[in-house]
Symmetry: C2
Subunit: 221 residues, 2 copies
DNA sequence: TCAAATATGTGAAATGCTTCACAAGAAAAT
DNA sequence: ATTTTCTTGTGAAGCATTTCACATATTTGA
């Protein structure tokens, strides 16, 4: 069959992608500090990784270094921003302007990074129409319409766990392909929708486990 | 050498611990729904894992199921809560009562789960002395003293990235062994201190990468 | 009571990820 | 110019995690 011989799309591990974020952050700092080049060793040290790991990760995407010298800081940072797709800005909507939602809207770093929260939704009449950092809260009823009209590409979900699935169903119906969820619930989305969960309880539980078991994990992410 | 023959402490992978949290959550729901038993298949389906994965994870800690029947819901939930160390409560302090810090203090689920935020610290004179959900904000200057006096076991760090390392150094000096950090910076802590990072930008960057590369990771965590 | 169905627990295999180790390329020193 | 030093890029090895597959135990139904 023809489909058997289609060139296999190179799949990158989740860990590698997360480490690219770390490299990006480290390179931004190095740039500010005035370094022109950095070795895999130098980069590894900043993020508590091994030099081999750094080189291997980068090698999945090309060869950006110079033997004997290292990597050019600015160039590599730019290259990684291209790989991560953060060399542009993203139009983001947020659903659920409560405790955590408000904190996220107020967080300027997201905007600076290019994740522009340009739309807010809630179902509470007291919140609809109110202004948060220059954005007027929309009624969740108009979600589908307004997401499309406003060319939203990512949605952050910060509603109670009990309603998160319904909200996500609507978001998916509106054609959104990337969702960041803060509700502690396992949401069902179609295969072509990227969903990430931010689960703070899980991290506290990890710490609890570590304290109780004096835990050293086999491999640290 | 004697140390060569010491019984090797069983090391559990980070992924397994995270999945225990998922099982715990799923079991709590199943309990509410009135189920008395659940199979590895049933549990796996709820959390989008494989039955073999569920059985293997649990097998690291003992055998809790009955062949032909499955696992007793209540018993297994209790067992996992023991393993995770959440069959008790933890005294938690939070440093940095800003946007995200305030959201965390207001979040009742943490308290319900046994993560009791009982102490708040800030360095802003306008915040020190003010009351958040019944807790009076303390001056960061008294950190070491008050952490000890109040038997704090975990600290959540929600201060600006620029000062996070200083704050963490003080927390470590005060003898705290578990820290949850929200600042997007790689903090240095001694080997015997457990540090977890909650990095929201990283998750947005992951979504960005996924959209740009139409990414399917090799393995989903 | 016995057969069929179900589902665990676990070695072993398969897969994935990290680290090793070194050839090769480039810079720096002499 | 030549040697030495440095550091990348990458197969291959080593290690960790997941999945497979099945013996075994228990329940269910006849
Ligand atoms: N606050 C935290 O620190 C924290 C921490 C971890 C996880 N979470 C999770 O984040 C989510 C939000 O938490 P929160 O503390 O901000 O809660 P919250 O109650 O303060 O905010 C929830 C918001 O969602 C809105 N909402 C409810 N139903 C809606 C619907 N159908 N459509 C649109 N909007 C709707 C509410 O009006 C409210 O403004 C929850 O799932 C919670 O479990 C919160
Ligand atoms: N707000 C968000 O949604 C969000 C999202 C991701 C990450 N973060 C990170 O979380 C951290 C806090 O963010 P925020 O938006 O809440 O900021 P914020 O400025 O609202 O809050 C920071 C708080 O820390 C206090 N503080 C400053 N220096 C201190 C010190 N030395 N000791 C004690 N307290 C001190 C400030 O007075 C303030 O109350 C930052 O590192 C930020 O990057 C925030």
């Amino acid at each position: 069959m023809a489909s058997d011989s289609l060139p296999e799309k190179k799949r990158i591990s989740e860990s590698t992608i997360h480490r690219l974020s770390l490299y990006y952050r480290a390179l931004s700092v190095l740039e500010k500090e005035g370094f022109e080049t950095v070795s895999s060793k130098g980069l590894a040290k900043r993020e508590k990784l091994t030099p081999a790991q750094v080189r291997k990760d980068l090698s999945f995407f090309g060869s950006f270094g110079t033997r004997g010298l290292g990597y050019p800081v600015v160039e590599l940072r730019e290259k990684i921003s291209q790989i991560l797709g953060i060399d542009r800005s993203w139009r983001v909507a947020l659903v659920g302007v409560g405790n955590i939602g408000s904190a996220l809207v107020s967080y300027k770093e997201f905007q600076k990074q290019g994740f522009k929260i340009v739309k807010l939704f809630d179902n509470d009449q007291r919140k609809i129409g109110s202004n948060h950092k220059g954005i007027v809260v929309s009624d969740i009823k108009n979600l589908a319409n307004e997401l499309e009209l406003d060319n939203i590409e990512m949605v952050v979900v910060a509603v109670p766990a009990t309603v998160a699935q319904y909200v996500v169903d609507d978001i998916v119906k509106a054609g959104i392909k990337a969702i960041l969820n803060f509700a502690p619930v396992n949401l069902k989305v179609p295969d072509d929708v990227f969903l990430r969960n931010e689960n703070m309880s899980m991290e506290l539980e990890y710490l609890s486990f570590a304290l109780v078991n004096d835990h050293i994990p086999k491999r640290v992410r």
